[in-house]
């Protein structure tokens, strides 16, 4: 790929990031590199720093040491004006989807999706509506455009949330346990949307407990424990022959 494409790329480089809550380091000098177009499944025991890592990448949580580069934008430790500007740039490049959806309850499904294109990007009402309807169709909810969030099932809500994030035309998505709050029979419809996006070449960083999904949909599995990467490799390698004892213990607990 030529250099010119870098401005649209979503390569993520994390170098020595430390995030402390009080005296506990939730991210403890973490290094990680995610290439543009890659799908990475972040797994590991709870409290291992997975969600915090996503929030740090998206600039929702400031960090204490280290450096993060997303495409050409650089996030430094410490909160400041420049940092907030960089965070806004990063957010236009990476959308985020939350475990508990966080749809805007006072807007319809379509209203949720068009809000940011309309008021952040400044698109016309008609343009943003067209974009919104196309995205609803893509996540299989074209017929639910006028439904309010409280009229949607959990799986439908999460698909609207994904469409909402996609409406900003990001190069990648950060997905924070987006199927954890769903009944088993609803998880599939959401994961199918993710696989579809992967096929389009989006960069996906997915925190998940769905090992089945991780195995067949991820390019890499990264295991986080105590704020560090303890295992990083192709799904087959990490799941079937983990190098670290802690990974084995974590996986055996999951599979029981």
């Amino acid at each position: 790929m030529g250099k010119w494409i870098v401005s649209q790329a979503a390569e993520v480089v994390i170098e020595g990031v430390v995030k402390r809550f009080g005296r506990r380091a939730v991210l403890d000098g973490l290094d990680l590199r995610v290439a543009s177009g890659e799908t990475v499944a972040l797994v590991g025991p709870s409290g291992g720093g997975k969600s915090t890592l996503l929030r740090v990448i998206n600039g929702l949580t400031p960090f204490d040491e280290g450096r993060i580069r997303v495409g050409p934008h650089i996030l430094e430790a410490h909160d400041g004006r420049a940092q907030r500007a960089a965070a806004r740039q990063v957010r236009q490049r990476f959308g985020m989807v939350f475990q508990d959806f966080q749809l805007f309850p006072h807007f319809t499904a379509l209203g949720n999706i068009v809000e940011a294109p309309r008021h952040v990007l400044g698109l016309s009402a008609e343009e943003s509506r067209q974009r919104g309807m196309a995205l609803l169709a893509r996540v299989g909810l074209a017929d639910r455009a006028e439904a309010y969030p409280n009229e949607l099932s959990g799986g439908q809500k999460q698909r609207v949330a994904i469409a909402r994030a996609l409406a900003m035309q990001p190069a990648g998505l950060l997905c924070d346990e987006i199927t954890s709050a769903l009944d088993p029979e609803l998880k599939g419809e959401v994961l199918a949307v993710l696989e579809d996006l992967r096929g389009d070449g989006m960069t996906l960083i997915v925190v998940t407990h769905e090992m089945g999904f991780a195995r067949h949909a991820a390019d890499r599995i990264v295991v986080l424990d105590e704020g560090r990467v303890i295992e990083d490799g192709p799904p087959g390698q990490v799941l079937d022959s983990p190098q670290k004892e802690r990974t084995r213990r974590f996986l055996s607990r999951l599979l029981v």
């Binding site: 939350f98 006072h106 409280n150």
Partner: protein, 480 residues
């Protein structure tokens, strides 16, 4: 109303009391707040009430051989309190009027009062009451006085006050064109003020007398006799001379053997007489409430945002504002805005009331906003931020519209409370619904009938609001 903090004021030494008489103290009610020179707090010693009626009460106690104790009672309610039996007699510059004669037994008169018109010293427009009428002056006076009735009879635009100081203050400040009040009041408050002047001769003489319940005839006779003695031996004249309210007219009351005038017929009020007046009062109440609430709602939001901002130099003043306005009594605020700032701001009474309620309620609305905004989950802020929204855009488009659903029901309740709170503004001479009710009942005595009509008017305003509040809660109560 019944702030009867009995002050042991006068107790004659038992030595010369006739032993066969009832020696229990007699309870005398008057309003020390009403002012000089009748009965008021001594400047040098505020624990002590002074005034010509205090001296008169002391002389009466001597003449009757019975101690008299003073009880503080609101002037406007003196006749009512007497009928209820809260005290033995009322003596507080009560004029003998036909409608009062229907309700109480008056003693023989003890003072001939006249009414004095007072204007600003530099104002030559109003030389008489007739001139006031033809040039449509606004004339201040006290509620329930002969002066008020005279203004009504002449069809002069009046403004009613509770105290004797305020009308002269407003006259000085140009909010009134003239003040018509009893001569003793004018002599005490207006004559020393170089910015004011007396115009015309004193007019419309009448009598002050002591009021008793109709079934206390025996007591009233004792007082008649005692007043006769004080008139005869010159003690009455000496008291009046001491207070500089003596004049030749008083010879009339000094002649002994006088009795009170008898009662004439009192006009009866009918529903169609007072309903338009009540409706107008209700309209003032609505205007006052709506404008005050609008101010409070507009002002409350930036205060709440400042408190939530997390920036100390913004949050701190906002907190001070909220605590200050929640902590001071509304009445004090009204007095401060209207009279305290009278020289600098010259706010008309109505706008002073709107400002006062607006500032006060803004503190409460700010707290409602703050609770409402705080009730929106943090995740909503983050979801908005993750879409690239600035904090200001997120607040306007995402947070505030949701918070409004939390905020509206308690704000509607506050609005209903404000409706009723506006009755406080009678203190600064705005006639809204409650004030109109009080005025009407004073002249008609129809507490029950007019009271029911007034209550219905209040309910017609507050019940729909309460219904609206519940509907809003029902519709928005089940959020996401």
């Amino acid at each position: 109303m019944l702030s009867s903090i009995a002050v042991m004021l006068l107790a004659t030494t038992a030595g010369f009391a006739q032993p066969d008489r009832d020696a229990r103290p007699l309870r005398w009610a008057a309003d020390a707040e009403g002012g000089a020179p009748y009965i008021f707090k001594d400047d040098a010693n505020p624990e002590v009430n002074v005034g010509f009626e205090v001296d008169l009460a002391r002389a009466l106690a001597e003449a009757l051989g019975r101690p008299i104790v003073f009880e503080q009672y609101e002037y406007k309610s003196l006749i009512l309190g007497l009928e209820r039996g809260d005290f033995d007699f009322a003596m507080n510059g009560l004029e003998i009027t036909p409608d009062r004669l229907q309700r109480v037994r008056f003693s023989r008169p003890y003072y001939v009062y006249q009414l004095q018109l007072v204007v600003r010293a530099d104002d030559d427009r109003f030389t008489s009451l007739e001139a006031c009428r033809s040039r449509s002056a606004v004339v201040g006076t006290l509620e329930e006085t002969a002066a008020e009735k005279l203004l009504d009879r002449m069809g002069i635009d009046k403004r009613i006050y509770d105290g004797q100081v305020e009308p002269y203050m407003d006259l000085e400040l140009g909010r009134l064109d003239a003040v018509l009040l009893d001569l003793p009041i004018a002599a005490y408050y207006a004559r020393p003020n170089r910015k004011l002047k007396f115009v015309g001769k004193p007019l419309a003489a009448g009598y002050y007398a002591i009021a008793f319940r109709k079934d206390r005839e025996a007591l009233a006779r004792q007082f008649d006799a005692a007043l006769d003695r004080l008139a005869g031996d010159g003690r009455l004249q000496r008291i009046y001379e001491k207070w500089q309210i003596w004049n030749d007219d008083q010879d009339d009351v000094l002649s002994t053997g006088r009795t009170a005038a008898s009662a004439g017929p009192t006009p009866r009020w009918r529903l169609h007489d007072y309903l338009p007046l009540l409706a107008h009062g209700a309209w003032v109440t609505i205007q006052l409430s709506v404008l005050s609430m609008a101010l409070a709602v507009v002002l409350g939001l930036p205060i709440a945002v400042a408190r939530l901002s997390g920036t100390r130099w913004l949050a701190w003043p906002a907190t001070v504002y909220v605590e200050f306005f929640r902590g001071i009594p509304m009445l004090l605020l009204l007095y401060f805005l209207y009279f305290g700032l009278g020289h600098t701001l010259r706010l008309p009474a109505f706008w002073a009331a709107v400002l006062g309620f607006g500032l006060n309620y803004a503190a409460y609305e700010a707290e409602i906003y703050r609770a409402g905004i705080g009730a929106i989950p943090r995740g909503q802020w983050e979801a908005a931020a993750s879409l690239g929204m600035s904090p200001a855009l997120a607040f306007r488009r995402i947070i505030l519209p949701q918070a409004v659903r939390v905020i509206l029901p308690p704000m509607t309740s506050d609005f209903i409370a404000l409706f009723k709170d506006t009755s406080l503004v009678s203190a600064i001479a705005v006639v809204e619904l409650t004030k109109q009710y009080l005025i009407l009942t004073k002249s008609s005595g129809g507490f029950l009938k007019i009271g029911l009509a007034t209550a219905v008017l209040y309910l017609m305003m507050s019940v729909p609001l309460g219904y609206l509040s519940r509907q809003l809660e029902k519709r928005w109560g089940n959020g996401s």
